[in-house]
């Protein structure tokens, strides 16, 4: 996983990570990726004035330290390749500073920035995907600049719920496969075989393979992949490629089976992003459970939702247990399945809006991808909520695999 050569320098702009028991996890994740956490130097005297200078007067000196370090990054005092802004989960004061600093650093320096709020339970594994995306953006800019697929390449996205594969030839998708993830390797083989069968090509015809998703390392090793990459980079690349929005700003929202991502993209390269994953209520799993309870196939849930009015159903919780309970209660009180389906779609979208889109600047076009984007009620609920048009590109569930095949073609040319 770790790239050889010079380490990527990541400025750690944090408040209290060394007191929360997560510092060693941060260091561990960084060293796995051949990245080095650095602490931008600043004059201690600036701590007394930085609050007013920045316009954000906060009581905690460590938050002022974060501001001073952010300023050192922006002014080039600290030479870094990316920035990780982090503070304690549940601290309101820190949340305000974290969000404003992320915006400030990104807008003023153009450096890739991610932010995260930690608890003492945050592990290196949780941090890895986020830091991996950050280091990739810093390290592989030339690869990410690729806008056309060349040669014959395959991309496999080993997701938590389904495994997707595509075979691409000369900038066209010529085969695709989509199977439930049961055994990671077997599912990947089946998905790839489906894609190959559809394309009429053979395994030996493939010139390069890219893998992504939760199972990327395992399948990457198995298929001797040329590129093994986290899903933030692959998915945003695949999304803007499929939506034909490779130039300029875009926002990608990916609602997956187990987590979701909101990514602010510029020229196909992710800038700010958030990655959910604590709550199943904001994932495709919530919709699956709703479909099951309504006795319909997940593929039919969207059409049902389009016909319903979510407002007619009272939902007291976003939780996958209590939210579903609300839906069941509504059915018992006589609500129509259409209204319940619409309410479920609205619930997922509203939670993403409240928890993730607040941290990412939503710039049009808004591209919705991931399996849940195929449930028609979801893009409709998102469009209604944000009052903007939502683009669902063709093959929107395959973005990870397409991004992988597209970027892997960089290895064909090389």
């Amino acid at each position: 996983m770790s790239d050889k050569g010079n380490p990527v320098l990541i400025a750690l702009v944090s408040c209290g990570s060394e007191y929360a028991g997560v510092q060693s996890e941060l260091e561990k994740a960084a060293s796995t990726l051949n990245a080095k956490l650095v602490y931008p130097e600043m004059d201690v005297a600036t701590l007394d004035t930085i609050g007013m200078e920045f316009g954000l007067e906060v009581a905690s000196p460590d938050l002022r330290l974060m501001m001073a370090r952010a300023k050192a990054v922006v002014e080039g005092v600290a030479k870094v390749d990316g920035v990780f802004v982090t503070s304690c989960f549940r601290c309101a004061e820190a949340a305000i500073v974290r969000n404003e600093l992320r915006r400030y650093i990104f807008e003023e320096s153009g450096l890739p920035v991610i932010s995260y709020s930690f608890t003492e339970r945050t592990t290196a594994a949780t941090l890895l995907t986020r830091l991996e995306a950050l280091t990739t953006i810093a390290r592989r800019k030339h690869l990410l600049a690729r806008t056309k697929q060349t040669g014959i390449t395959a991309g496999i996205d080993s997701g938590s719920t389904t495994t997707k594969a595509v075979v691409m030839k000369d900038n066209e998708i010529v085969g695709e496969g989509w199977v439930p993830t049961i055994k990671v390797l077997e599912s990947a083989e089946t998905a790839l075989q489906q894609a190959l069968d559809q394309s009429g090509l053979k395994t030996e015809d493939i010139q390069a393979i890219g893998t992504t998703g939760y199972g990327r390392f395992l399948i990457g090793e198995h298929f001797k992949a040329d590129l093994v990459q986290e899903e933030i980079t692959m998915n945003s690349k695949g999304a803007v490629y499929l939506a034909d929005q490779q130039k300029g700003p875009a926002t990608v929202i990916d609602i997956g089976g187990m987590d979701n991502k909101a990514i602010s993209v510029q020229d196909g390269i992710p800038g700010m992003f958030t990655m959910g994953g604590i709550c199943a209520g904001a994932s495709g799993r919530f919709l699956e459970m709703t479909a099951k309870r309504l006795g319909v196939e997940i593929t039919d849930l969207g059409d049902l939702a389009i016909k319903g009015m979510g407002e007619n159903v009272e939902m007291n919780s976003y939780c996958i247990v209590f939210g579903i309970q609300s839906l069941v209660n509504s059915l018992a009180k006589g609500s129509s399945p259409e209204d319940v389906a619409a309410a479920a779609c609205h619930s997922v979208v509203e939670q993403i809006f409240e928890q993730q889109l607040q941290e990412v600047e939503v710039k049009e076009p808004l591209i919705l991808v991931g399996g849940s984007s195929l449930i028609a009620g979801v893009p409709k609920a998102l469009g209604d909520l944000l009052k903007i048009d939502v683009i669902v590109p063709p093959h929107s569930q395959l973005i990870g695999a397409v991004g992988a095949a597209l970027l892997a073609s960089g290895y064909v040319s090389e």
């Binding site: 408040c15 209290g16 003492e120």
Partner: protein
């Protein structure tokens, strides 16, 4: 000799004054020194592991951020030992700094709540205030019982 908790808990000046007057300062520096020298724990820079925020649950509930509880795991036991306290308000960062405002609030509250002799004094801004500051702290320290270590 009395065990005197100081606030800011990492103020070198306060810690030194307490020591000069024959008392034992309860300060962060000693605490940090102890944990970074703990054999078998390798969690730099401070050797604080996820266990500390859990220990901090004794002083703050689970909805309080991990960084506060991690700090309280160090400060809380010092407050428990304290027989007297000196709290300096509105101090400059260079005088001593705990980093986190919520930890500061809780620390000062727990010291005040303990019912021990406390000197609360503002950080001086002029030379005159500075002399008064030192004088008041000295008088407070002189007023504390000596010899509790012999009990």
């Amino acid at each position: 000799m009395a065990k005197v908790i100081i606030y800011p808990t990492n103020s070198l000046i306060l810690s030194d004054m307490v020591e000069r007057f024959g008392h034992e300062p309860l300060a962060m520096m000693e605490k940090i020194k102890k944990i970074i020298n703990t054999v078998g724990v390798d969690s730099p820079p401070l050797n604080i592991t996820p266990e500390e925020p859990k220990r901090g649950l004794k002083y703050a509930a689970v909805e309080v951020p991990a960084g506060v509880r991690g700090r309280m795991a160090l400060i809380g036991p010092m407050i428990e030992l304290a027989e007297a306290g000196i709290i300096v308000g509105d101090s400059s960062i260079s005088f001593g700094c705990m980093g986190c405002a919520r930890t500061n609030e809780l620390t000062k509250f727990l010291i005040r709540e303990k019912g021990i002799p406390i000197l609360e004094i503002k950080y001086p801004r002029t030379e005159e205030e500075g002399q008064d500051f030192v004088y008041k702290i000295a008088e407070f320290l002189k007023s504390l019982p000596s010899g509790s270590d012999e009990e």
